[in-house]
């Protein structure tokens, strides 16, 4: 569903991405795993078209992002690294605003809003202003907002950062349900444990390059490690910036 093909991006002297390629198939959860500064966020931002690659191409389905960013974004649900909520709006306001920007309206919009509120157990906070939301409440709202229009693909930048156990579980359940409906899901993370329980596939990134793409078992077999963490460290040649 998402195709990243030989993408390079440079910021001044920093080569953030160099010749990165991978795919995110429909009905799967793919982890973009790498230490801090590996280029994960840059990579995600080229997928939703806020950064233009210097070279290479990103497609969502068969839509090239660079030449048709709006069409590509219509098929995407995005959770950015800071979740991006409006403090003075409540969750229903958020969902209505983004739903409308995706062309939804009327009864269909309202029932979709109720669906995601139920699915992410947000009934209690649905009418409270977002100011003062906990990390768990914020991610739930950001995720609900991204899933509202039932996008073909979900792109999430470190969605489980700073979450407690219950919130992590709620996010995991929601993502699994979306995957089972056939959504292609790409999430970046530097938390190893998360990959094992949440994801089907893994793309390992270091220094702007993709050094592995495939399933987790193959990764372990290829590096000769039984533990994912060891496999990862062998692959990138360092354990810097990785949380177990």
């Amino acid at each position: 569903m998402i195709h990243v093909h030989q993408v390079s991006k440079r910021f001044g002297k920093v080569q953030a991405l160099s010749n990165a390629s991978f795919n995110v198939p429909a009905g799967s959860i793919t982890a973009l795993l790498g230490p801090n500064g590996a280029g994960k966020s840059t990579c995600l931002r080229t997928i939703y078209g806020l950064l233009q690659p210097d070279q290479g191409e990103v497609r969502v389905g068969d839509i090239p992002v660079a030449s048709a960013p709006q069409a590509a974004r219509r098929r995407l649900g995005v959770v950015t690294d800071e979740f991006g909520l409006y403090e003075r709006l409540d969750p229903r306001d958020h969902l209505r605003y983004f739903g409308k920007l995706h062309g939804m309206s009327g009864a269909a919009l309202e029932s979709a809003i109720q669906r995601v509120i139920d699915e992410l157990h947000m009934g209690e906070i649905a009418d409270r202003h977002a100011k003062g939301f906990s990390a768990g409440q914020r991610i739930k709202l950001a995720l609900a907002r991204a899933m509202l229009h039932q996008p073909a693909a979900l792109v999430l930048d470190e969605p489980t950062r700073g979450l407690d156990v219950m919130s992590t579980r709620a996010v995991r359940d929601a993502l699994h349900r979306a995957r089972d409906r056939g959504t292609a899901i790409l999430l970046s993370t530097h938390v190893m444990q998360e990959v094992a329980v949440l994801c089907d596939r893994v793309v390992v990134m270091a220094r702007g390059q993709v050094c592995y793409e495939g399933d987790i078992e193959t990764l372990k077999a290829r590096t000769g490690s039984t533990q994912l963490e060891d496999a990862f460290v062998k692959l990138i040649g360092s354990d810097e910036g990785i949380a177990a």
Binding site: L50, V78, T80, D81, G84, L101, G103
Partner: protein
């Protein structure tokens, strides 16, 4: 650009800003307090005008100057016959005006010599000064009256001693005089536009980036141009509503002031009010475009605040034109803000607007606003702005 999307963005920004205390209070405070300050200033003008009429003198030796006392009283001056030395009277009442007619003055008067009567006052006080000028003029005019009577009694044509006389004919119509005195009003209203839009313009641009919601917003299928336009129109609306409220409040306050005491007939009909409110629209759009574009250029929220607070002072430049006093040049009728002030003043004074100049002003304003909106849209969607590169 898609009108439906534009409306979605605009209505969200309005809802969001209405819940922001700072965005709302700045405009409301200005709309309430600005006109109050203005009418207090006018009120003190009226007071000083009234002072001139209400001059009062202490007349020492009133028994020797019955004719003069009657003349002053007939012109509305309160004459209080007093005794004692002028120095002592002044010491007791520092703001008094003392007119002293001595026995010697009376003798001189009877003997047809010039009687030099003394006028005592503290001329360092501006209110006293205007009253003294009036008393002085009245004493002088009484002297002229006496001179005319004496000449007529002796069969001499009064014109012999008074070859010239000047009569002032004030050519300013009541409407134009009102516009002169009330010339400050349009500047106040224009300031309202800038003040009302400042906070929301920062909030929807740099503020949205600072709170990290901009990236999520730009990842939605709406173009940066649509998003910018929605934000810009929301800021325009806040500026416009502030200015319109300032117009209504100031006109309401003015209608309660006794402006007729200044010789000003101030009344606006519904059509004039509608024209005023309409004339503010183009500038509200331009000012908000400038505010949003400028806020997008700033690296941080604080920097944006500094720029936009400085921008609020821009209408002060209008004072220069106001007090130069010369009639507005063609450039003044076309340049944004200056032309809008000229239009507002003309509507207030009940003058007709020149259609070609109005069209030119609209054209220049539209081009400037369009250019700023184009720059702002590009900036809003740029990598450099969104990620602070």
């Amino acid at each position: 650009m898609n009108i439906r999307e534009l409306w979605i963005v605009l209505s969200k920004e309005i809802k969001d800003a209405l819940r922001d205390r700072r965005s709302v209070t700045a405009g409301l405070l200005f709309a309430a307090l600005g006109p109050l300050v203005m009418s207090a200033a006018l009120n003190s003008m009226i007071d000083s005008g009234a002072d001139k009429k209400n001059a009062a003198v202490l007349l020492v030796g009133a028994e020797r100057a019955a004719g003069l006392a009657a003349h002053l009283a007939a012109e509305g001056v309160t004459v209080t016959p007093s005794t004692g030395k002028p120095e002592e009277l002044m010491a007791a009442q520092p703001l008094a005006i003392v007119l002293a007619v001595t026995q010697r003055n009376a003798d001189d008067f009877s003997a047809l010599r010039t009687a030099r009567i003394e006028l005592w006052a503290d001329m360092s006080d501006s209110k006293v000064r205007t009253r003294v000028e009036r008393v002085q003029a009245l004493v002088g005019s009484y002297g002229e009256q006496v001179a005319v009577q004496r000449m007529l009694a002796r069969g001499i044509e009064p014109g012999v001693a008074r070859p010239l006389g000047v009569e002032m004919r004030d050519f300013a119509s009541q409407g134009t005089r009102a516009a002169l005195v009330l010339g400050m009003l349009p500047m106040f209203w224009i300031m309202g536009i800038f003040i009302g839009g400042t906070n929301i313009a920062i909030d929807v641009t740099g503020g949205e980036r600072e709170r990290r919601s901009l990236e999520a917003l730009l990842a939605q299928p709406a173009s940066a141009a649509t998003l910018f336009t929605g934000k810009w129109l929301a800021a325009s609306l806040f500026g416009y509503v502030t200015a319109a409220a300032t117009v209504l409040v100031s006109l309401k306050l003015l209608s309660g002031l006794p402006l007729y005491e200044l010789g000003i007939a101030f009344s606006l009909d519904g059509a004039q009010l509608a024209a005023l409110l309409l004339a503010l629209v183009p500038l509200a759009l331009l000012a908000a475009a400038m505010q949003c574009a400028l806020a997008l250029q700033a690296r941080t929220f604080k920097e944006a605040q500094t720029y936009l607070n400085l921008l609020q002072l821009l209408p002060m430049a209008l004072v220069v034109v106001q007090f130069k006093g010369s009639s507005p040049s063609t450039a003044t009728w076309i340049a944004p803000m200056f032309s809008h002030q000229a239009q507002l003043s003309a509507i207030l004074a009940g003058k007709a607007l020149s259609m070609p100049l109005l069209a030119a002003s609209l054209g220049v304003t539209a081009v400037a606003a369009g250019l700023l909106a184009w720059l702002g849209s590009r900036r809003l969607g740029s990598e450099r702005f969104v990620f602070g590169l």
